[in-house]
């Protein structure tokens, strides 16, 4: 599904922010990417959702080297990836309905089919009564859920979420992660970047750790609820 081979990244003439990263995500898997702010989580995510080309190394998505794709092929491949951005990136001049509908409009879905899908998804994220609301009138948590709805409406094969719980309280963070879990059960590969170690420890999924642009496989402490749950059952 996702394979990174020796990926390094440098923004313009700046210092290298990712150093020779190797990573593999199997289809249908769920992974966390844990690391402090400035460790390179977002940069790694940007390489995966094709916002940046690595300065060194290779990014393979769905079995294809993204460097070899022409612009139309890149567009089609991006439609298979749902992205939840750290800063939501909702379009302020569009209401919640139109923001969520955006990926379907881009892929040419008919307006009729679009109505029911958006409404269903807004119910799923608990915002059925906010269809007409503009981002500026929504709280941070509501915006986050609209962003999640937008990321998953196209039924992506891969969901990449950069700090999706960064702006919400603990209770909502858990709720959002249950949404991702539900999506993963339906076959979507999920990769979530977060700095919240406690949250990662609550779920039984493998995680990577990134620090100063270097990636390593994370290890669960035996005391973590997820590890205990896994040991118990």
């Amino acid at each position: 599904m996702v394979r990174l081979e020796g990926v390094s990244l440098r923004y313009r003439e700046g210092p290298e922010v990712l150093h020779g990263i190797d990573l593999e995500l199997e289809p249908g898997s769920f992974h966390f990417l844990l690391g402090p702010s400035g460790a390179g989580k977002s940069s790694l995510m940007r390489c995966i959702y094709m916002a940046n080309k690595p300065t060194k190394g290779r990014v393979m998505l769905f079995g294809r080297d993204v460097q070899t794709l022409d612009r139309d092929e890149q567009a089609l491949m991006r439609r298979r990836i749902g992205v939840v951005f750290q800063d939501f990136r909702l379009l302020p001049h569009l209401n919640a309905f139109e923001n969520v509908a955006l990926p379907l409009r881009l892929s040419g879905e008919s307006s009729r089919a679009l109505d029911s899908k958006v409404a269903e998804l807004m119910r799923w994220v608990g915002l059925a009564d906010c269809l007409e609301a503009y981002p500026a009138t929504l709280s941070g948590g509501q915006q986050q859920r609209v962003a999640i709805a937008r990321a998953v409406i196209g039924r992506p094969s891969l969901l990449v979420a950069d700090e999706p719980t960064g702006n919400v309280d603990e209770r909502l963070a858990m709720r959002l992660l249950f949404l991702f879990q539900e999506l993963n059960r339906n076959g979507t590969t999920v990769f979530i970047a977060t700095h919240n170690q406690a949250l990662v420890q609550r779920f039984p999924y493998p995680f990577y750790r990134i620090d100063d642009g270097l990636l390593s496989q994370g290890r669960r402490s035996a005391a973590s609820p997820a590890a205990a749950g896994a040991a118990g059952g």
Binding site: Y49, M50, A51, R71, D72, A75, L76, M77, R78, R79, V83, R89, L91, H93, L94, F97, E98, A101, L102, P103, R105, L106, S107, S111, R112, L114, D115, V118, A119, L131, G154
Partner: protein, 297 residues
């Protein structure tokens, strides 16, 4: 929720882009005036041309020393040749009163006209538009042999000046039109590039969601089409009102100028099509500017 989806790019809201309709409006105003001027001058030249088309004037000089009998004989010979020549429908000798009315602005004394012994004028009407050069040459030679000094006037030399003037004005109008269109293209390129810079983050977002370059280009194209069409229609309306005001003022000053402004509706079609032309040029320019810009990313 169904209906026309809003533009994903909030085009037209930024100050730098909002002046595009105004710019196109002014350009259409100028283009319309120059095109209308060319149209009116062309119509005038055509009217002169049609007025003289199908007619000849033959001047038969009087003999020296004066001999009315010989003059009469020559005139009869000339008329006989004219009636025998194919392609001529009618030949009418201008009598003394006709001559007097033609010369009235300069000479108002009929006896003086008779004394000055002007050539006899014959107004000839042709069957069709005009005679071929060969027929004309042959006719001139025959008349010259019968009445030396006879001159066949096709009126062409009188039309050369106005036709050249009309051609020059048409050329100037074409140059103005080209320059205005070129300025419109440059304005659309500038506005589109500014807009691309302003909306860079939204464009990146659309790309990340799988938008093709064409999809983004179509948004710019449609916006430019609407903005240019709106501006161009306003410019056309402004120019139309200006032309109407000028025509009223000119005709009020001198009724004889009414004719040039009486141009058939079909002749105004190129002018009426100007907003469509501006809109099409703006749309195509915006599309290619965006596609070129995105291809470089």
């Amino acid at each position: 929720m169904t209906g026309t989806p809003p533009l994903q790019l909030p085009l037209g809201r930024e100050r730098a882009v909002r002046f595009l309709p105004w710019l196109i409006g002014f350009m259409t105003f100028l283009a319309t005036l120059s095109l209308a001027a060319a149209l009116l001058v062309n119509a005038l030249a055509e009217r002169w041309d049609q007025g003289l088309e199908g007619r000849l004037t033959i001047q038969v000089p009087r003999v020296e020393p004066p001999d009315p009998v010989e003059d009469e004989r020559r005139l009869d010979d000339v008329l006989k040749v004219l009636t025998e020549t194919r392609g001529l429908r009618e030949a009418e000798v201008l009598d003394d009163s006709g001559m007097a009315s033609i010369l009235a602005p300069w000479i108002d004394d009929p006896t003086l006209i008779a004394e000055l012994r002007f050539p006899v004028l014959i107004a000839v009407t042709l069957d069709s538009g005009e005679l071929s050069d060969d027929v004309l040459q042959e006719l001139s030679q025959r008349l010259e042999s019968l009445a030396p000094g006879t001159y066949v006037d096709t009126h062409r030399r009188w039309l050369i000046g106005p036709i050249r003037l009309a051609d020059s004005i048409e050329l100037v109008a074409a140059v103005v039109l080209f320059m205005v269109m070129a300025a419109a293209v440059l304005a659309v390129i500038f506005v589109t590039q500014t807009s691309l810079t302003i909306h860079r983050s939204v464009i990146e977002l659309l790309h990340l969601m799988g938008a093709r370059d064409r999809y983004i280009a179509v948004q710019f194209q449609n916006y430019s089409l609407r903005a240019a069409l709106f501006g161009a229609l306003a410019g056309l309306l402004g120019a139309g009102l200006t032309i109407t005001a000028i025509s009223y003022a000119v005709v009020a000053a001198d009724q004889s100028f009414a004719q040039p402004f009486q141009v058939g509706l079909s002749a105004w079609l190129p002018v009426a099509a100007l907003p469509l032309a501006f809109a099409a040029v703006a749309a195509v320019t915006a599309r290619f500017t965006v596609l070129r810009h995105l291809a470089r990313l």
